[in-house]
Symmetry: C2
Subunit: 218 residues, 2 copies
């Protein structure tokens, strides 16, 4: 099994390294895909949105057929939606993938590759309106959503939750539990400040804020 994670200039770091860690734990401790690698248009080092420099493991040309493909977001997606080579790579690989996942504004690359038309999907809160404006996507304000073999996560850190849920769906809850425990992913529910109450916050955040007793966050 081959799990490919696509990167490109100005990709957002946590968008892809959150899922990378989760898949890495699945592979190491719980029977996940034999191969998980970072794929980019060429083997040149990629400078990410916050300045991290990452070496891809495979170029598009070298990349074997993928069973799973994850497409992160970040500022770079504004350029990459017009990169025919990258969009063709996504649409070609997606044909035989068992699942394709996007994180954050990676959903705009999925859309350009023809994979979101008529599908439920989400993105970073700051891009929900732009995703709606595309006209043919059923935009939901959830932390992540799956529609057939297409999964999409909200902004940045949401890729971790989506990848764990994907593993649970693809295998079972016990396997996802092994991964969660290995990565010690029992995050704080602390809400800082008040931005989770503002008009731009997606409904899943507002719902979460209402459910948490601020005096006693779990």
């Amino acid at each position: 099994m081959n799990f490919g994670i696509l990167i490109f200039p100005d990709v957002e770091e946590l968008d892809f390294i959150g899922p990378w860690e989760v898949i890495g734990m699945w592979r190491k401790y719980a029977g996940g895909p034999e191969n998980c690698f970072i794929v980019a248009q060429s083997l040149s080092p990629v400078s990410c949105a916050k300045g991290l420099i990452v070496h891809p493991h495979a170029s598009f040309e070298q990349c074997p057929p993928l069973d799973f493909l994850l497409i992160p977001g970040g500022e770079g997606t504004r350029q990459e939606v017009d990169n025919k080579v990258l969009i063709d790579f996504i649409s070609d690989q997606a044909k035989s993938c068992k699942a394709v996942l996007s994180v954050c504004t990676g959903s705009f690359l999925l859309h350009r590759a023809g994979l979101l038309s008529g599908k439920k999907a989400t993105t970073h809160w700051g891009s929900l309106e732009s995703l709606r404006a595309l006209g043919d996507v059923i935009v939901v304000e959830e932390r992540f959503i799956s529609d057939g073999k297409i999964w999409s996560a909200a902004g940045i850190s949401a890729g971790i939750d989506a990848t764990l849920a994907f593993i649970a769906r693809y295998t079972n809850e016990q396997t996802a539990g092994i991964v969660q425990f290995a990565a010690e992913y029992y995050p704080s529910a602390k809400l800082y400040g008040v931005l989770h109450k503002n008009a731009k916050a997606p409904s899943y955040i507002k719902r979460k804020a209402e459910q948490i007793n601020p005096a006693n966050p779990v």
Copy 2:
């Protein structure tokens, strides 16, 4: 202001890239340190625990005096505790740092650098016994803990929570809220499987599991 993030061979990816993303958002949107960079013994690419290859921005020799230093963990710490050059780098830089943070088994590097003796600290659940066995650390089973200017986080993903809490403490809750919203860090509280109930789970996880109504996770 200089925020340095130390890496070394077989460092765990999410241990340092979770905090990297959080600090990056602080810098971009909320007045955080002007400079945040990855520092390693040399400028050679570093192969991380799950196979990601990262280019450091600065070698120990090039590294300016740091205001903040974050030390991740991972398999590589087993080697690095005996790397005098790296341990000396930590202890030398720590003298003038406003705060030093560890994630996961990075706490063992802090200890070797003489920074944890008599201090409250934590680490990945799988290494709590080893941290206790050192004899001079007050080991706590929390998601993260601060003791004076020394902060330590539990395993891997806990570095995100510790870094947000550090920003809130160093600035204010509103600033941490801007960072949380930018990174859309409103994680799922879903617990998969049953490992959070087993004997090795630290007390903060067991407490969390008891507080969450499994039928209605926030």
